[in-house]
Symmetry: C2
Subunit: 380 residues, 2 copies
C-alpha cells in the first residue's frame, strides 16, 4: 500500500527502524541525550531561538495547548478560518471560555491580510490564530504578513503549521510567530503521536502574565520552561511524550538535517508544482486557487459526475494507493494527494498518478494514459 495521505505520511524506513529497540525509561540519561538532540534539531527546523515542546498527542492537542497556555477566560482571540482545521481553533478557544471573533475567508481561497490589519486596529485581541497550510483545502495562508501585522499590534500570532513544517518555508523568528504548532506525522516525516509546539519568548512572557493558572495540567506549556528546559538531569517531564515516537522523530529530523532543510523545501516545492501541472494535464481542477496552493498536498476537485469517495476507494482497493478523501464540511468536494517528505519523489508520485489515471478511466472519465504521469516526470 502506497501511503499518499496528507498525514500520516509515508516515512523513510530508517524512521521505522529507529523504533526497533527495547523499552527505555524516559528518565534514562541516554534517552535524555536523544530528547535534547531532537529538540535542538526541531528548533532549527522551526527557526526559533525559543523552545520546541514535544507533547504526546496529535496536532489538535498542540493547538489546544497553545490556546490554553496563554489565554484566560474572557480573553479575545481572532480566529482566521478558511478550512476545517482553522475552525478547530474556534472550538478550542470557545471551550476555554475565550471570546472568539471569526474572520472567515473563502475555503480554498486566500485571506486578505488587510482585513486582519483592519480588525486589529479597531479591536483588542490577545492572539490571532491562522493555519499555514490548510490540510483540508490544500490552500496556504500568508503567515509572514499576518505575523508582521500581529507584531505591530502586540498581539500573539498562533500558527497551525501542522502540515507545513518540513515542507514549506517557515521561520518562527523572522515571521514573528509566537506559538507554532506542528505534529510528528506530517511534513517532518515521523510517526503519528506527538504534537510539537514552538514557543517564542514573547509567548512565554504572556504565559507568565496570565491571570489564572492554566486550566490544563497536561497541556500547560509554561510548566515545560519552569520544570524542564534549562534544568539539568534529572528533571521531570510535565507530561511524557512516547520514547519510541521520539526515537522515530529524532531519526526523521536527522533525515532533514542530512538532506539540508533548504534542499528539502525545494524538493517539496518542485514536486508540488509538478503534481499541480499533472493534474491540470488530466483536465482536472485544483480545489484551491493555484497561486496560493499549499506545497504539502494537492487538493483536487473530482470531475463532474464522479464521486470523490469512489476515486479514493478505487485507488485504494484496486491500485493499492491511499490518497486522502475530504473531511467534515468539505465531504465530497475534493480528494487530496500528499507530497510531504519521502512522498515528494518519483517513486511515490509516479505510481500515484498512474493509479489516478487508471481509476478515472475505470469510473468513466476520459484520460489519455501517461498524460499526467508524463507531465509529472517532466516537472519533478
Amino acid at each position: 500500500m502506497l501511503l499518499m495521505t496528507p498525514g500520516p505520511v509515508a516515512v523513510d524506513e530508517r524512521v521505522i527502524r529507529a523504533m526497533n529497540r527495547p523499552a527505555i525509561a524516559h528518565y534514562h540519561p541516554e534517552y535524555f541525550e536523544v530528547f535534547n538532540e531532537t529538540t535542538e534539531m526541531l528548533k532549527s527546523i522551526f527557526g526559533t531561538s525559543g523552545d520546541v515542546i514535544i507533547l504526546p498527542g496529535s496536532g489538535r492537542v498542540g493547538m489546544e495547548a497553545s490556546i490554553v497556555s496563554i489565554a484566560d477566560p474572557g480573553d479575545r482571540i481572532l480566529c482566521i478560518v478558511s478550512g476545517t482545521f482553522g475552525r478547530w481553533f474556534v472550538q478550542i478557544a470557545e471551550r476555554a471560555k475565550c471570546e472568539v471573533k471569526i474572520l472567515e475567508g473563502k475555503w480554498g481561497g486566500a485571506i486578505n491580510p488587510e482585513e486582519v490589519e483592519k480588525i486589529l486596529k479597531e479591536e483588542e485581541f490577545k492572539a490571532v490564530t491562522v493555519v499555514h497550510s490548510e490540510t483540508s483545502t490544500g490552500a496556504r495562508n500568508p503567515i509572514e504578513t499576518i505575523g508582521r501585522i500581529c507584531k505591530g499590534h502586540d498581539v500573539l500570532c498562533i500558527v497551525d503549521a501542522i502540515s507545513s513544517v518540513g515542507c514549506m518555508h517557515l521561520d518562527m523568528g523572522k515571521m514573528n510567530i509566537d506559538l507554532c504548532v506542528s505534529a510528528s506525522q506530517k511534513g517532518i516525516g515521523g510517526i503519528v503521536g506527538l504534537a510539537l509546539v514552538g514557543v517564542s519568548e514573547r509567548a512565554y512572557k504572556v504565559m507568565e502574565e496570565k491571570k489564572e493558572i492554566c486550566q490544563s495540567f497536561a497541556l500547560d506549556l509554561r510548566r515545560w520552561r519552569d520544570q524542564f528546559f534549562g534544568h539539568d538531569y534529572p528533571r521531570p517531564y510535565p507530561v511524557i511524550p512516547s520514547t519510541h515516537l521520539v526515537y522515530a522523530l529524532d531519526e526523521a529530523c536527522k533525515l532533514i538535517v542530512e538532506e539540508g532543510l533548504e534542499n528539502r523545501l525545494s524538493r517539496c516545492c518542485k514536486a508540488a508544482q509538478a503534481v499541480r501541472k499533472a493534474i491540470r494535464a488530466l483536465g482536472l481542477e485544483l480545489f484551491p486557487e493555484e497561486e496560493i496552493a499549499s506545497d504539502s498536498l494537492t487538493a483536487v476537485k473530482p470531475p463532474e459526475g464522479i464521486s470523490e469517495s469512489d476515486i479514493v476507494r478505487t485507488m485504494r482497493e484496486k491500485y493499492d494507493v491511499m490518497v486522502g478523501g475530504s473531511v467534515f464540511e468539505l465531504k465530497g468536494k475534493l480528494f487530496r494527494i500528499s507530497h510531504m517528505g519521502v512522498q515528494a519523489s518519483m517513486n511515490y508520485l509516479i505510481p500515484t498518478l498512474a493509479a489516478l489515471e487508471r481509476t478515472l478511466v475505470d469510473l468513466g472519465y476520459k484520460v489519455e494514459f501517461g498524460r499526467g504521469v508524463g507531465t509529472l516526470i517532466e516537472g519533478i
Copy 2:
C-alpha cells in the same frame, strides 16, 4: 540494560516487533479492525461493558480527561491522597475550577474506607478520586470498598489504575468504578504514549447532564461516544492515538489474552510476594505496610546511611539494571523494583536482586550473597 522501573516496564519483544511496519493511515479500514480488536480486549481486561477509550498521552492525560469530562466548575470532588499520583488529581481538579476536598492518608499506609463513608454522608460530591496502586509509594488502596461506598451515595468513582491494570485484580463492573484510568506502558506491557480510560454508563450519563461543554476539545471523552463508538467506518477520531503504539498495545493485550488474565494476575501476585520476602531476607524494610503492598512494584527503604540515589545509580551504571528511584515529595525515601508483565519472572527478577546485593555491598551494607536471590528463587 534490564529495565525494572515501574513504568515504562520492560516489554515482550513481540510488542516491539508489532511496531516494525510502515506508516498507515489511522482511517485505513484494516487499521480500524486492529483498533476495534484492541478496544475489545481492553474492555475484558478492564472488566467493563462500557467503553475503553485510547487517548494519546501518558497516565496523567487520562486522569485529566476523566475529571474534565464529568466536572463543571464549582463541582465538588473528593480526592483521596496518599502519594504523588493521588495528589495530581487535586491539581487537575483545581485547574478545572472544581472545589476539591482532600482526604489525606499516610503515604505508604492504608486509607480507611470508613472515613470516605463518613465524608460522603455529610457532604455532597460529584466524584471521588482514588489511586489503586500508588506507584510512588508502592501501596494499594481498597478500591472495591470505596467503589461500593461511592455507589451507595450516587457519587462517581474515578480510579487511577495506571500501574494496576494487567497486574492486580480489577473489575470496573463488579467494583463500581465509573472512570478507570490506565496507561499503555505499565501493567498492560505496551509502549509509553497512550492513556486508557474505561468509562461506565453512569459516567457517560453524568457527561450528558454536565451543564457546560467540556473545557477541553482533545480530552472530552463524551465526543468518543457521540462521534466514534457505535458508528461504522468511516468515523472520525476525536483525537488521534498513535497507530504504531496501538499496534504495540494490541500485541500486549494479545499476550494477556493468551496467558489468561487470571494466570497473569497470579504470576504477578506470586512474584510480588517473593520479592517482598527477598527484600526482608536482605534485612531491608518495605516502604508501605506489607499487608497493603501493591503487587505491581515493591518500594524499599534504603538502609540507614545509604542514599537511594546511590543505590539506583550503582545498579544502573555498574550492573546494568535500572530500578526506579523516588520522585517529588518522596525524594530519597525509597527505591522501587517493578514486577509488572514480563518483569514478573525469574529472568528479570533474579538478576535484579543479584545486582541489588552487589550494590548494597559496594555501598557498605552487609549482605550474605545469594540470600535475597535464594529467597526469590524459592518463592517465585
